[in-house]
């Protein structure tokens, strides 16, 4: 945000960005539900929902209408206050985390720099880790207030899983911070456009995945664990915990939990794109089209913003698809396997990654 003294236009831009990002995030949820259902169906040689609207695209809307009009039931044995609070506590951090993710490079309009992220914090990454770990409170609160042993077990699993994997997630990012010397996500995304090495005339950019492949793998795995997606969805393991922490939830409160899960996925994808896949840096077909259009002056700048947003969106969409793809491929971990993997494999690997990165920076390889 920078300075607190802003004029009216500045406030309008800020609010506009916030509302725009929230609207895009909210409308991505039904789309993701559709992708998940159709994708899973096709992978299992089924067709999936294809009746409501073209290709079944209206199906999530019909589902949400159903969920809104269902009875908002609060069972007699729950602690009502925390029971109602829990879905909100898992939804709000999911929205908040996306605030610092940049989706296009800043643009200079009449002496005013507009950055394309809701809040350009200089502690960007730390903010994301701080807020993302708040999400676990919603799950713990849901499990505990449900007053149900399955829910409690689910939330206990969730909390220990999130703590174990947050460690290696945080440590894996340190490599990126060492290379780009910044925790501001805008800076990280911008410096990923720089040239790393040249293969003939082909410029290889400094994308995080190229200079930090091990760090990326660790971050990816930890992101799956953080968003409670398969193969790490033990908090809601159907076969042993019925439905885990949202067992007692119904109607819109359940839908809010699902929304939070999908928003967490979107945020994790956005974060992975910003850190490891060049953020809003354009990639081949888009750069080619952009150069072919040949704008100059202000139209050029605005076209750049559009193309950068498009490339960011495409990358995020690819990651979201990867989440769905992995979910319907890999079976769930056993709980001891999960903990062993987190503490005995991921943590040493992420520590090794830090030392490796340090050595590579010392020898000026990256």
């Amino acid at each position: 945000m920078g300075k607190l003294t802003m004029d009216t236009l500045g406030w309008c831009i800020l609010i506009g960005k916030a509302v725009g990002v929230i609207l895009v995030l909210v409308s991505s949820v039904p789309l993701m539900v559709w992708v998940e259902r159709r994708g899973s169906a096709l992978m299992q040689n089924r067709l999936g929902p294809n009746r409501v609207g073209p290709l079944g695209l209206i199906q999530p809307l019909a589902d949400s209408i159903k969920l809104i009009f269902k009875e908002d039931l609060i069972p007699g044995h729950v602690t009502a206050f925390y029971f109602v609070l829990a879905p909100l506590l898992s939804l709000i951090p999911a929205f908040m985390t996306f605030a610092v993710i940049p989706f296009a490079a800043p643009i200079l309009v009449e002496g005013r720099t507009i950055s394309f992220q809701v809040a350009d914090l200089n502690v960007g990454l730390l903010y994301i880790f701080a807020i993302a770990s708040l999400g676990v409170y919603g799950i713990i609160m849901a499990g505990w207030s449900s007053n149900n042993k399955y829910s409690l077990l689910g939330s206990l699993r969730s909390s220990s899983q999130m703590i174990s994997y947050e460690l290696s997630m945080g440590l894996s990012v340190i490599g990126i911070i060492m290379v780009f010397s910044s925790v501001r996500l805008g800076d990280i995304a911008a410096s990923q456009g720089e040239a790393w090495i040249y293969l003939g005339s082909l410029m290889i950019p400094k994308w995080g995945v190229l200079i930090q492949p091990l760090g990326f793998l660790i971050f990816l795995t930890a992101a799956f664990a953080e968003t409670n997606r398969l193969p790490f969805d033990l908090p809601e393991g159907e076969s042993e915990l019925v439905a885990g922490y949202h067992l007692e939830y119904g109607s819109m409160k359940f839908a809010i939990f699902m929304m939070a899960e999908y928003l967490n996925m979107t945020t994790a994808s956005g974060l992975m794109v910003s850190l490891y896949f060049g953020g809003w840096q354009m990639f081949w077909p888009l750069t080619w089209i952009f150069d072919a259009l040949g704008f100059t002056g202000m139209p050029h700048e605005w076209a750049r913003v559009v193309f950068q947003t498009a490339s960011f969106t495409i990358k995020v969409a690819a990651f979201l698809w990867f989440f769905v793809w992995v979910r319907w491929t890999l079976p769930r971990f056993r709980y001891d396997q999960l903990m062993n993997f987190g503490w005995k494999v991921m943590l040493p690997l992420s520590l090794a990654n830090i030392f490796l990165t340090g050595a590579l920076i010392y020898w000026k390889v990256i």
């Binding site: 096709l42 992978m43 299992q44 067709l47 491929t329």
Partner: protein
């Protein structure tokens, strides 16, 4: 004794195996034939031996049934009710022929027992109704399935 399978190095790293699994799912998604039958538009074809809704076979517009009472006798669910009568040409015929499909277990014993080849089971399997009704003679004569 617990035998732990020996894993090769690539299996221990997981990544290769995960990639293989992902390839299998995407291959199924794109290339495999989908097994779903889109019901109201597409229907499953059952064999002629399928035991669906009953019908009474007729020759020259007259039902084959002679009300011999073999089918209500053999019926394990006791769902067939026949009232016999006499035609002007002294032929015995069913005045009333009712099948209570709610009780019927579709065993096909009536079809086996019938000496006149009159009661048969068609391949029609759509029998949901909003009213509790028994199938009457008129209906049973009309509905022929795909026979």
């Amino acid at each position: 004794m617990l035998l732990k399978p020996q894993k090769s190095l690539t299996q221990k790293i997981y990544i290769v195996d995960i990639a293989k699994g992902l390839w299998i799912t995407i291959k199924n998604m794109i290339f495999a034939k989908k097994v779903t039958i889109q019901y109201p538009e597409e229907r499953r074809n059952y064999s002629d031996r399928f035991r669906g809704v009953h019908y009474i076979k007729a020759t020259n517009g007259v039902e084959n049934c002679t009300a011999c009472m073999l089918c209500p006798t053999v019926c394990p669910a006791e769902c067939i009710h026949i009232v016999a009568g006499e035609r002007p040409d002294k032929e015995k015929y069913p005045v009333q022929f009712e099948i209570d499909v709610l009780r019927c277990c579709f065993c096909g014993m009536c079809e086996e027992a019938c000496p006149k080849d009159a009661i048969k089971l068609s391949t029609v399997y759509e029998m949901s109704q909003s009213r509790r009704e028994v199938y009457e003679k008129g209906f049973l004569l009309e509905q022929r399935g795909n026979k």
